[in-house]
């Protein structure tokens, strides 16, 4: 499955990206430059052959050279940028899980209350707002309006500042919020529906009839069962966060995977493009698999043969 998925992306990238384009505008390059690139990417061979040879190198740790980044080995840039993306995706994932669950459960238990309406309204807005627009909106508010009218700048609106933990935190707030927002809207809706579904189940009524305290009904009976579908949701979220980081990183000039990928496709840097595409596709497939496995683990009624 994974092999086919990465082959399709490799094929797509190979069809569209022509590293030779970059040389067309280069006046000082002679035939040897062409030959070097053809040799580097094995352009004279067929796509499946190139894929096998690329995959072989990749698995043995040789990710090739990044022609758009001064010929540095891809692996070096790869881990460096990947770690930066993790700085965004990690906190976003933790916050997303906590806030999404809280908002969903709260709004289901207090159905039709003012809080429920507020959460529902915000999540509708979140689902309708493209990520990049929300990010730009945050920039307008926190980087332009707040400094203009209040006279100070609470958060960095661009780049990654690593001088001190506090600076890192200041530069993380806006991108993490952006990354989280759209998914948060979907999550809270999903968990709200799951809890509502269970709230009227017979065993909850039985528990109440037995005289179980309201607190225990919620924590032991309701919450636990509502978390079964939520586990799938979380695994899918982890995958979606890597996709979402493509856009968020562009808005906030964050030196991670996303920005790198877009630069690489523009530069026709095939090895770099493929390394990132491969990494993201692999993560998505693995998280999907994890979702399936966890699902069976949590709910013994589900069995895989």
């Amino acid at each position: 499955m994974l092999l086919i998925a990465t082959f399709i992306t490799f094929w797509a990238a190979a069809e569209v990206t022509n590293p030779l384009d970059a040389l067309a505008t280069c006046a000082t390059c002679d035939q040897s430059a062409y030959d070097r690139l053809i040799d580097l990417y094995e352009l004279d061979k067929s796509v499946p052959e190139r894929y096998v040879s690329w995959l072989g190198d990749f698995v043995s740790g040789d990710m090739g050279q990044a022609t758009s980044q001064g010929e540095r080995p891809v692996s070096e840039i790869f881990w460096e940028r990947g770690l930066n993306t993790l700085y965004l995706a990690g906190p976003a994932f933790i916050l997303l899980t906590i806030l999404g669950t809280f908002a969903g459960v709260y709004s289901a238990l207090r159905q039709y209350s003012a809080g429920d309406y507020a959460i529902t309204g915000i999540s509708y807005l979140g689902l309708a707002m493209p990520t990049f627009f929300f990010g730009l909106l945050l920039q307008v508010v926190f980087a332009i309006w707040v400094p203009k009218y209040l006279g100070f700048k609470p958060f960095w609106s661009s780049g990654m500042h690593t001088e001190s933990p506090l600076q890192l935190l200041r530069s993380l707030v806006l991108p993490v919020t952006t990354l989280m927002f759209v998914l948060l809207a979907g999550d809270s809706r999903f968990i709200r529906a799951a809890v509502l579904d269970i709230k009227s189940a017979d065993y909850i009524r039985t528990a109440r009839a037995k005289g179980v305290s309201e607190r225990k009904v919620i924590t032991k009976h309701l919450f636990r069962n509502a978390m079964i579908p939520a586990i799938t949701l979380w695994s899918l979220n982890a995958a979606a966060l890597f996709g979402g980081s493509l856009i968020t990183e562009t808005i906030f000039s964050w030196p991670g995977f996303g920005r790198l990928l877009i630069d690489a496709t523009f530069a026709g840097d095939l090895d770099l493009t493929m390394a990132i595409v491969f990494a993201i596709t692999t993560l998505v497939v693995l998280f999907n698999l994890l979702a399936d496995l966890l699902y069976g683990l949590v709910d013994p009624r589900i069995r895989y043969d």
Binding site: M1, L2, I4, A5, I8, T9, A12, A13, V16, T17, Y112, Y124, L125, L127, A128, M129, P130, T131, F132, F133, L136, L137, Q139, V140, A143, I144, R192, A193, L196, D197, S200, R205, R208, A209, G211, A239, F242, G243, L246, I247, T250, L261, I262, T265, F266, T273, V277, I280, T281, V284, V285, N288
Partner: protein
């Protein structure tokens, strides 16, 4: 005697009421199910939003298509003297750095965004419908191959594919629509396949087969008409997705290129002057959000209307 006879039913009623009251109040069975009124109110509320969404969509469409006749400027008309201005009476939305009127450009951008959305949704739903119906109806090897392909494609993040291909095909509105359409049909095909699998076992399909109808006729005359509701909902929701994808691609610089424009392209052009004139981003961005919000409201209500069991709440 007569008194007793007429009184007894009343007593019984009373007694039942008392027992009920006791059950409800004293024995903790007060967790009453959602009342009909509440459910009706829920439906009403949602549909009212859907009507609001419809009205907003119609108004925006009219504005995008009729509006340009009332704007004194062409989308490509360059007025160097008026460049980079804020909103004024002459240019209600201001001008860009070449002095082009942003109201005219926003209306044109809206036209293209809506057109791409509609075209994409129709294309994706059509492909999904055909693949799903064939796969579900014929089963066995054909289904195996098609389903496997769909599942593999679903694991590849859409945005990745769009970024890879966007540079080559994203620049013109029509190729952009085809590109997004070709990546967005997977979910529709899974939906249709699941439905067809159920429907094909039903009596009316067997009757048609017994009467000698061929596969093509059964699919097009007997199966697909039963899916109209689902497909309509899918078209609506896909249109929303398409607008998000299109504007995202345009924002990344992989989308429709000037002088043509979409709302996403306008945002991308405006983000450079975010600190001076945020309205260049806020206006098209706000319009995109309103369009998608309206589409989602309409889509939810449609799903409710066609499939009350799905329970969107």
């Amino acid at each position: 005697m007569t008194d007793a006879l007429t009184e007894r039913p009343g007593d019984l009623d009373n007694e039942i009421e008392i027992v009920e009251d006791r059950l409800v109040n004293d024995m903790g069975l007060s967790d009453k199910p959602e009342s009909l009124g509440r459910q009706a109110w829920e439906r009403f509320r949602r549909h009212r939003l859907a009507i609001l969404g419809m009205v907003l969509l119609i108004m925006l469409t009219l504005a995008f298509y009729i509006g340009p006749f009332f704007v004194a400027f062409e989308i490509e008309e360059i007025n160097i003297l008026d460049r980079s201005q804020g909103p004024s009476w002459k240019h209600p939305f201001g001008t860009d750095d070449l002095g082009r009127d942003l109201l005219a450009r926003t209306l044109r951008g809206g036209q293209f965004s809506l057109r791409i959305a509609l075209f994409t949704a129709l294309l994706a739903t059509t492909i999904g419908m055909i693949v799903g119906a064939v796969s579900g109806y014929f089963g066995s090897v054909i289904d195996g191959v098609l389903s496997f392909f769909v599942n593999v494609m679903l694991t590849i993040p859409v945005l990745l594919l769009l970024i890879i291909f966007g540079r080559q095909f994203g620049a013109r509105p029509n190729t952009m629509a085809v590109l997004i359409g070709l990546t967005a049909w997977l979910r529709a095909s899974r939906l249709v396949r699941a439905q067809v699998l159920q429907l094909k076992e039903m009596e009316f399909v067997q009757a048609a087969r017994a009467a000698g109808a061929g596969a093509g006729r059964i699919i097009s005359r007997h199966l697909l008409p039963n899916l109209v509701g689902i497909l309509l909902v899918e078209i609506t929701l896909l249109a929303g997705t398409a607008i998000i994808l299109e504007s995202t691609l345009s924002f990344l610089g992989l989308g429709v290129q000037p002088p043509d424009t979409t709302l996403g392209t306008l945002i991308a052009e405006g983000k450079g002057s975010l600190d001076v004139r945020p309205s260049r981003v806020l206006i098209p961005g706000g319009i995109v959000t309103i369009i998608i919000l309206s589409i989602n409201f309409v889509g939810d209500a449609l799903r409710d209307a066609f499939d009350p069991k799905s329970g969107t709440e």
